[in-house]
């Protein structure tokens, strides 16, 4: 299981970026206010019931109502409201338009993640994992493929709904590297509970390295390489933060000069690949560079490098991969992938092995 993404300290109070941090300050102030007012009311109740007659006389008239019930909350609430509105305004600063963009689409019950170039074209697709560079605002385009979902990484920012027929926008930014848990926050049917993902923040250099490795992998793959590379090249012209030419050069080098970080097949991996294509996996999943081109399920081109399986619920290794393929319906009942329980352990291992090689 994924530790340290969640839990103690509460992520809402342990922000990892400026958008969440501002809300944390507000939250602490609100909690303090809440405790103080609760104590005041309890004290007033106590004084009303048991207090000395002088205090009772003070509390026992309309003046006390005007002070305690109108003036005091009126002043406090007005102050709070001004703060709240100002903060709302700050947190919804107009989109500049030159932010790096990632499109996240809620699906029943996982997240489709597409990295966009500045023309809005998809340069690579992934699932249930979002990689962002530290110190740079990232604009998320949130969409839905079916019902209403809600995107929430409490370490990074508040949540925003993913609504069919609309595109909602959310700015996130991390100020420290780390892995941060995210979930769907809007009830979206049977497996709403187990619809999670991970947001990974890298130092900018590490992030570029990560991205380039991915682009290289795509470039090396058959079929759509050319276009993918073209897109990468175009993207380079208006790069996110790296100098444009550097990015272009990197992409070029990755694609043309040193092809193939294509996984090296060992053991039964070739069998696994064949089974993947034959037993039905390929109908729903895409693996770049192979004939597997399904769009219904998560793109598995980089599945071997993912931190989790099953939308943020299992750690990713050979054993969990086998378990997921063979029996996903008992792990996450009702999810859209059938349990491949007709496959033998060897066959499952072969598929899992091959998938784990897809980095």
């Amino acid at each position: 299981m994924i530790d340290a993404l969640w839990g103690w300290p509460p992520p809402v109070l342990d922000p990892a970026g400026p958008y969440a941090a501002k809300v944390t300050t507000l939250a602490w102030s609100l909690f303090a206010l809440g405790v103080i007012v609760t104590l005041i009311v309890i004290a007033a109740l106590w004084a009303a019931i048991k207090g000395p007659p002088r205090v009772q006389a003070m509390l026992g008239g309309e003046r006390a109502i005007w002070i305690g019930g109108v003036a005091f909350p009126g002043i406090v609430l007005t102050a709070l409201l001004i703060w709240g509105l100002t903060l709302t305004a700050t947190l919804t600063d107009p989109i500049e338009g030159d932010e790096m963009r990632i499109r996240v689409t809620g699906e029943m019950w996982w997240f489709r993640v597409q990295y966009l170039d500045d023309q809005g074209r998809v340069i690579m697709e992934d699932a249930n994992e979002i990689h962002i560079p530290v110190g740079q605002p990232v604009l998320l385009e949130l969409e839905s493929g079916d019902v209403i979902h809600s995107f929430w990484v409490p370490h990074l920012s508040g949540k925003k709904d993913m609504i069919p027929g609309r595109r909602t926008l959310l700015l996130v930014e991390a100020d420290r590297p780390g892995e941060f848990g995210g979930v769907c926050a809007e009830y979206c049917g049977a497996q709403h509970a187990l619809m999670g993902f991970v947001a990974v923040a890298h130092e900018p250099a590490a992030w570029r390295e990560w991205r380039d490795a991915r682009l290289a992998r795509l470039a090396a793959a058959d079929g759509p390489i050319e276009t993918e590379l073209d897109i990468a090249r175009t993207a380079a012209d208006n790069s996110f933060d790296a100098p444009a030419d550097a990015l272009a050069i990197e992409a070029e080098r990755a694609g043309a000069i040193s092809p193939l970080p294509v996984p090296v097949a060992t053991g039964d991996a070739p069998l696994g690949r064949r089974l993947f294509m034959d037993v039905g996996c390929a109908a729903c999943h895409r693996v770049a560079g192979t004939e597997a081109n399904g769009l219904a399920g998560p793109d598995l081109t980089h599945v071997g490098s993912r931190l989790t399986l099953g939308a943020g619920i299992l750690p990713n290794h050979l054993g969990t991969m086998m378990g997921w393929i063979g029996d996903s319906q008992s792990i996450k009942p009702g999810n859209r992938m059938p349990s491949y329980d007709m496959l033998s352990a060897e066959e499952l291992e072969a598929i899992a092995l091959w998938l784990e090689q897809q980095k």
């Binding site: 969640w6 109740l45 009303a48 207090g51 009772q56 903060l87 979930v183 009830y187």
Partner: protein
């Protein structure tokens, strides 16, 4: 004092009059006697119906509570398989739905039915058969709805039922339809109850009980009922839209065809947030009365408290979108809704400090109701404060849809409604039980519930901040959530043990009675503590202060000796005194219907109608629908009869008329309220039309030609004229037989309405628009559906009028039935005009 109706206030000085003979009491008892044996179920008196209502609502509270315990067991540890995902999702949906729709709203309405007539010293609510109908529709429908859980067909889309998850594409089974069915019932019974309560509070108060002498609970119920009338039409419309989308593929919420999922959220929360205050306000009214009782003093800040109730009701209609802060709404809207959400806590603050001030000015006695009252102030304050927190938009972005909200809403609802309800059970049970509940056990009940509540819900604030979303059937281990969830589960069982102890005490001590009740156990000062029988008080007292029993202790004896108003039955029928709206001056005697099996029959077949629709047995649905309508007409048939006597002495030599017609009559008020309800439904439908145009203007097409519109409007105007003329003719026949012309004119008006509607539909179809085509088609044809509904009712009414004339029971020159039919048909004509003109003129061709 200035008179409101010309009534001479010096007449009040005649009371108390001389003692009246005991034989009059025997006659009252005879008249108000309830049927025996099985026929007891046909009783319509509020002593029975109110009690059944409370018991049924409490039964649903227990049932939904058991569901909650199931959920807490499932969540006690991570990745458990106690309930399983499908069952859990049905459980949490049913828990919310049942608690909100089958427990909270009916419970406050039930307490109203039970207490209000006595508090106002009316003999009964003004429409006893309507109460009985509302009760049976609720009891039968609610039970059927709940039973769906046992066959695995219970709804599983959450009590908020957001499409498209609940649309046919993602919820193809009939689970969702069961939700729409269950809610259909509660809509009907809530509206019926609200009409009853509005008319009851405004027109059946004891003489002298001016608005500013009304018990606080009556004020609260008045605000409650008005809020239902304004808010429920919205949920009525949205359940209709969703069911029509599911059954007939009209794309109201389908984004691919010019609908919008957020339309549902606006309509639902326009009802859903006021709903919270609909639940809270009556409980606050009970609190205000009980605080005064436990502190043995008058409520401090009565007028401020009334103001707070009215302000809460008003502001609550401006806060609905705070449930939608995360939908990417414009900054300005978010700011407005945030401000309104803050503002609504001001009146709550006023009430809390009214209660504190009252406690301070009196001397508390630590009885069980006192514990519950003080406890709920603490709980409600805590819930209110987290409410202020989530009213702050940026904080809400984090807290929304997490366990923080679960904690918040349970604090508000338990502190705002459940604890006051238990306080009220203890405080008022002496009215219906011959034995008192144990005050000692009651303190244990309170202790367990109070501790259980905090143990359950306090940790949930933290669980939410730690990232646990709501409505999850399980959670992953290794996220530090295990301990907090286990604590919550333990707390839930502590809370439940408190409720169980209450049940045990009820089993031991509660004995229902209408005659030898245990009485005023906690020394209340309002009229419900006068000695009563099924006929309520022997005579209807003259009210001179807010707590008549405290200020004039001998009033109980005087009332029992018949020394006030209406100490006998003036006509030999069930009757009550109708008084004026503001000053409560005696106006006339209302004749009340007695026991009848027809309201129950109407309710059962209404249930059959909806149930058959749900399982798509359309012929049987039509059959049930017809029986339901016939039963309703049958129950009405016995009302509004010619009477032999025009006026009667109500005591002290004051003569008032019997059963009047026209704008002063209580039936007129009820019809007006009903028209507001129907009008609100139409208004919300127009909102849907404009909203979808705002979102998807590209699917809007040109309306039918203006010429055709003019023809339709001309027909509607003709209908107006015919309906109006019908009553003029009747008035001109004074002293003679009514004859055929009046009903013929009404029937003609109804026929003209049918024609206009037909042309309207043909016109739109002629433009190539169809209801399944896009959002425009769906909303335009929805207007025609709504119009068709009222036109069908208008036709039934015209036929009913004809039947009454044929049987010679149509009085001249005026007649209540005629007034109602004419007014309703004219309403239909006006609505038809609006529905025709608006979509044809806006946005224009």
């Amino acid at each position: 004092m200035r008179s409101e109706t010309g009534f001479d206030h010096s007449l009040y000085d005649r009371f108390p009059t001389a003692r009246r003979p005991q034989s009059e009491v025997d006659e009252l008892e005879e008249i108000w006697n309830a049927p025996k044996g099985w026929r007891r179920l046909t009783a319509v008196n509020n002593n029975y119906v109110g009690f059944w209502y409370v018991v049924t609502a409490f039964g649903f509270f227990l049932a939904a509570g058991i569901l909650a315990l199931g959920m807490r067991v499932q969540l006690a540890a991570p990745m458990q398989d106690f309930l399983g995902v499908d069952t859990y999702n049905q459980f949490f949906t049913m828990h919310g739905t049942v608690m909100m729709f089958l427990f909270a709203v009916p419970m406050v309405e039930a307490i109203g039915v039970m207490l209000l007539p006595q508090m106002l010293a009316a003999r009964d609510l003004p429409f006893p058969r309507l109460s009985a109908y509302a009760y049976w529709a609720y009891a039968v429908g609610g039970t059927l709805f709940f039973l769906s859980l046992f066959v695995g067909l219970a709804p599983d889309g959450g009590w908020f039922m957001y499409p498209p998850l609940t649309s046919i594409a993602f919820s193809p089974d009939i689970n969702t339809d069961f939700w729409l069915l269950g809610i259909g019932f509660i809509e009907i019974s809530a509206i019926a109850g609200a009409i009853e309560i509005i008319v009851g509070v405004l027109r059946t108060r004891a003489p002298g009980m001016t608005l500013d002498k009304m018990p606080m609970f009556a004020w609260a119920m008045l605000v409650f009922a008005v809020m239902i009338v304004v808010a429920f039409p919205s949920v009525i419309l949205c359940t209709m839209l969703l069911e029509i989308e599911r059954a007939f593929n009209w794309p109201f919420f389908d984004a691919t065809r010019g609908g919008d999922p957020l339309l549902w959220q606006h309509l639902f929360w326009f009802f859903g947030h006021p709903e919270v205050y609909i639940i809270f306000i009556p409980a606050a009214g009970l609190m205000s009365m009980m605080v005064a009782s436990v502190a043995r003093t008058k409520l401090v800040g009565y007028r401020l408290n009334v103001l707070a109730l009215v302000a809460t009701g008003f502001i609550s209609f401006g806060v609905w979108a705070h449930h939608m802060f995360t939908t990417d709404m414009p900054r300005v809207s978010a700011g407005y809704f945030s401000a309104a959400s803050m503002a609504v806590s001001l009146p709550a603050g006023i009430q809390v400090f009214c209660w504190i001030a009252t406690l301070a000015s009196g001397k508390i006695k630590w009885t069980t109701p006192a514990l519950f009252v003080v406890g709920s102030v603490v709980i409600f304050t805590m819930g209110g404060l987290t409410g202020v927190m989530v009213g702050m938009v940026p904080f809400d972005w984090q807290a929304h849809d997490t366990y923080f909200i679960v904690a918040h809403l349970h604090y508000v609802l338990m502190g705002g409604m459940v604890f006051p309800m238990f306080a009220a059970f203890y405080h008022w049970h002496g009215m219906t039980s011959s034995r008192a509940l144990s005050d000692k056990v009651g303190k244990w009940v309170f202790g367990l519930m109070f501790a259980g509540l905090h143990i359950t819900f306090l940790p949930m604030h933290l669980t939410g901040l730690m990232g646990m979303p709501r409505r999850v059937y399980t959670y992953l281990p290794g996220r530090d959530l295990d301990l907090l969830n286990m604590i919550s589960t333990v707390g839930a069982f502590v809370l439940a043990s408190g409720v169980l102890l209450f049940l045990v005490d009820c089993a031991r001590n509660f004995r229902f009675t209408t005659t030898d009740d245990a009485g005023n156990l906690y020394d209340g000062g309002t009229l419900e503590w006068l000695p009563t029988g099924l006929y309520s008080t022997r005579s209807i007292p003259l009210v001179r202060s807010r707590e008549p029993l405290w200020d004039r202790p001998e009033i109980s004896r005087e009332v029992e000796e018949g020394r006030y108003f209406l100490p006998y039955s003036a006509t030999g029928n069930r009757e009550t005194l109708i008084t004026s709206t503001v000053m409560a001056e005696p106006q006339y005697i209302q004749l009340m219907p007695g026991p009848s099996r027809w309201p129950m029959s109407a309710a059962i077949f209404t249930a059959g109608f909806f149930l058959s629709l749900t399982v798509k047995a359309y012929p049987f649905a039509i059959f049930c629908g017809i029986i339901a309508v016939v039963s309703t007409l049958r129950w009405l048939w016995e009302t509004d009869r010619p009477i032999r006597q025009d006026t009667a002495d109500i005591g002290g030599g004051i003569e008032v008329p019997i059963a009047i017609t026209g704008p002063q009559s209580h039936g007129w008020w009820a019809l007006n309220t009903l028209m507001v309800v129907i009008g609100m439904i139409g208004f919300m439908a127009l909102f849907a039309y404009f909203y979808l145009f705002g979102i998807n203007p590209e699917v809007w097409s040109a309306p039918p030609p203006l010429r055709q519109t003019a023809v339709i409007v001309a027909l509607e105007v003709a209908a107006l004229a015919a309906a109006w003329g019908g009553r003029r003719v009747l008035a001109a026949r004074e002293g003679k037989q009514a004859g055929d012309l009046p009903w013929v004119l009404e029937a003609l008006a109804a026929a003209l309405l049918v024609g206009a509607l037909y042309l309207d539909i043909i016109g739109w179809l002629g433009t190539g628009l169809s209801p399944t085509l896009n959002g425009m088609g769906a909303t335009v044809f929805m207007l025609t559906v709504l119009q068709a509904q009222v036109v069908i009712i208008a036709c039934i009414m015209a036929a009913y009028l004809a039947l009454r004339e044929a049987r010679g029971i149509m009085t001249t020159p005026t007649n209540v039935t005629m007034d109602i039919v004419r007014r309703f048909i004219m309403f239909c004509a006006v609505q038809g005009m609006v529905f025709t003109i608006v979509p044809r003129v806006f946005p224009g061709g």
